[in-house]
Amino acid sequence: MTIKTGFERIRNSALWRSIFRSGEGSSNLHRAQAVQQNLLLHLFSVKIRSRALEFKPTWFLGALTLSTFFILVVTGILLMFYYHPSVPQAYADMKDLQFVVASGVFLRNLHRWAAHAMVFLAFAHMFKVFYRGAYRPPRQFNWVIGVFLLLLTLLLSYTGYLLPWDQLSYWAVTVGSNIAKAVPLMGDKMRFLLLGGHEVNANALLRFYVLHCVILPLAAVALIGVHFWRIRKDGGLYVPEKKS
């Protein structure tokens, strides 16, 4: 049995066929169905122009931003196994991750650097989209989704910044929440709701933890789904016509 016939047998098994329902064959129809009938892949179009996959139109900045987001989700979930969002333990847990937990310092640093990279890449992606005019109709709605995704990225960075509970994070969030207080009329109330009190304390740490680990990532996943679905609906990635 060669490797090829082995793969063929797996692809024809009842289990494989019940998950990937497009069936055997490599005709255009089969390939299109393989994309269209898969929950994750069906966000994308079944056919794209090959030039859209080249480096030049996108520099792969959107895909790279998504990759950093995946790294952040995986490392973040792993960090959650050792982190208690409470005032007596948060700082000690962060130090334990650095010095006691096996590979803890690697995961923590990976999470931190991926977070920096994601902010940088999201900005770079938006600059690239802006300067080559890919935000123009019919893609203007997807640009707005992208602006919200940038805001979510920044909010994720900001809420994650408090969690080590050291001097830097404490004063950064003190300053940040006082900036929120400068909003006219409802600034005081906004800061109170954000911190769950008048000062950065146990309530604020817990609120930032829930925002950072649950609410903001879920919102980001939802908007990322809309973002990719809109690419398909707007006729694929923007690739300018080649000058002849």
């Binding site: 003190t174 929440s177 709701l193 769950g196 009190g197 008048h198 309530n203």
Partner: protein, 170 residues
């Protein structure tokens, strides 16, 4: 479509009646449904707002016991980082300043070599009367009400900001 005379969407024969004086059963229930959704939405908003506003806070009370007057030597500025106040002992008497910077809320520090209060975050500086001498702070440091308690301790009320300077003589 929603013009009163042209009829409801999908059924031009039935006139759209905004006051529902003579509307059909279907129009009535549609209005009732939209109305209940608005009420439920507003209720959920209020519910969320109330839920996320804590009713009990475990924060320090505003009135603090600063210390006995003889703990503060003449012409000194003493920071209590726990309560965020300076107890200043001057020739005119004792007074208390808020130590939290009026710019973005960082805790300031007394720099005796400069004879100034300095904020580490964005470089605001204040003299020992709380008046800003440099930096981005929009307000002077607040003066808090100070009094001498019966047990001989200087008390400071951080929630009571003085409009005119008051000194406590001992």
């Amino acid at each position: 479509m929603s013009d009163a005379k042209t009829g409801i969407p999908g059924n031009p024969a039935i006139p759209n009646d905004d006051d529902c004086a003579d509307c059909t059963r279907r129009q009535f229930f549609a209005k009732l449904g939209v109305g209940s959704l608005i009420v439920a939405g507003a209720g959920s908003g209020l519910f969320a707002y109330e839920y996320f506003s804590p009713n009990v806070l475990f924060e320090a009370p505003p009135i603090v016991k600063a210390g006995k007057p003889d703990q503060f030597p003449p012409n000194s500025v003493t920071l209590d980082p726990q309560s965020g106040i300076y107890l200043v002992s001057s020739a005119k008497g004792y007074y208390a300043l808020g130590a939290v910077c009026t710019h973005l809320g960082c805790l300031t520090a007394w720099k005796p070599e400069l004879d100034l209060i300095a904020c580490p975050c964005h470089g605001s500086r204040f003299n020992r009367d709380g008046i800003k001498v440099a930096g981005p702070a929009p307000q002077p440091l607040p003066w808090f009400k100070v009094w001498l308690a019966d047990d001989g301790y200087l008390m400071v009320d951080r929630s009571s900001i003085l409009k005119v300077q008051e000194f406590v003589k001992v």
